[in-house]
Symmetry: C2
Subunit: 222 residues, 2 copies
């Protein structure tokens, strides 16, 4: 896969709390220059990104309930509606990690279903659920991925980048076993072209990374 | 200050995303046993804590917009109303860090004002704003603390425990210079009785910590 094709499936993430408006404006320019598929930002910057990327093919992704997913479902739903109104056409939301770890699977399922439902009411929005694999056991990864697949998410995404670890190839294999319909977004610690390609080979259809420039403009590979 | 008096001004924090229902139940028992003033938890556990602590003097604190504060103001307000309905009588919410770092001070001020206003509509709720000092310059610490003081928060709180660093005594000195009316909650990395006492001497009226048991039952001091 050459870098031009790879760029299309990269979700370039600027979701650190100390990213500023100027960082985001620069990232928009990089997205347009390198034809990166999607730019992911925190809610305060969604409308700015929507404006800067309008007229291009680049998509606007909002990080919702980020990075703990511990907001009540009704609050997540309202945040989804808010960012869609501001111009997001993709949503990366975090599953309710404390409820997963407490074994409250009915509540976890309902949370994912309601977010998907609310986002899908608004037409062509792509929904990704972040399960933060670093906090989960292999069994939990399989269980929550299956649940998310059944709930209608477009992607199961590995990590926020703020959890105990980044994505692993084992994560991808576990998620792949669990899903029938959804695709996989690998994110967390993917900082080179080689790593990105390894995750794609393992089954990821999107790569989330804050290192898009290094991956697409770095030294090695074609 | 002996440990019994110290316990009253401790906000015992169990706000990691992988804390479970069992961890929270055990913490409620510790709060009652050691007569700790307040227990801080993520939204999914507020109603459980309110039930377990009811009939005691212990207060229930909810961490809102945690830990980035990047949710839109209307979403923060709804989350505040939600956790108050569930039984919270204290709110620790995070200021909008990305907007602070972008110099959007009017929006930051409005965010704090609306959260305070919404919480205060509900009677006797104590409101603390977390400014995450580790991301801020000294000038920003002073500016945002002053803004929060004017907006009517009860406490300016240093850190979430998930930022780039914990609280420092310099943080307390800077906040103290900026505020006229509000009090100070020191939180982030305060793991011993001696550290807690140093922050109190510097001007903190509350100590937020996940190490309440070590502080109150540890080896040294009286």
């Amino acid at each position: 896969m050459n870098r031009e094709v790879l760029a299309k499936i990269i979700d370039y993430a600027l979701v650190k709390p100390n990213h500023t408006k100027s960082d985001i404006i620069r990232a928009c320019e990089d997205v347009l220059r390198l034809k990166i598929g999607t730019l992911c930002v925190l809610p305060p910057f969604v409308s700015l990104v929507a404006k800067k990327l309008s007229g291009s093919d680049a998509r606007v992704c909002a990080a919702v309930a980020f990075p703990f997913g511990a907001n009540p479902t009704e609050i997540k739903v309202k945040e989804v509606q808010h960012v869609i109104r501001e111009g997001a056409n993709e949503i990366d939301f975090v599953a309710n990690i404390p409820l997963i770890k407490s074994g409250e699977y009915q509540l976890v399922r309902r949370d994912i279903e309601e977010v998907v439902c609310s986002a899908k009411e608004n037409g062509d929005v792509i929904v990704k659920v972040i399960i933060e694999t670093g906090y989960l056991t292999p069994d939990e990864i399989i269980l929550i991925s299956r649940m998310a697949d059944e709930a209608g998410v477009d992607y199961v995404k590995t990590c926020t980048g703020f959890g105990p670890r980044g994505a692993t190839l084992d994560d991808i294999r576990l998620i792949k076993r669990a899903i029938k319909r959804a695709k996989i977004k690998a994110a967390g610690g993917i900082s080179t072209y080689e790593k990105a390609m390894a995750f794609i080979k393992a089954g990821a259809s999107r790569i989330g990374t804050s290192h898009a420039l290094e991956i697409l403009e770095g030294g090695s590979s074609s």
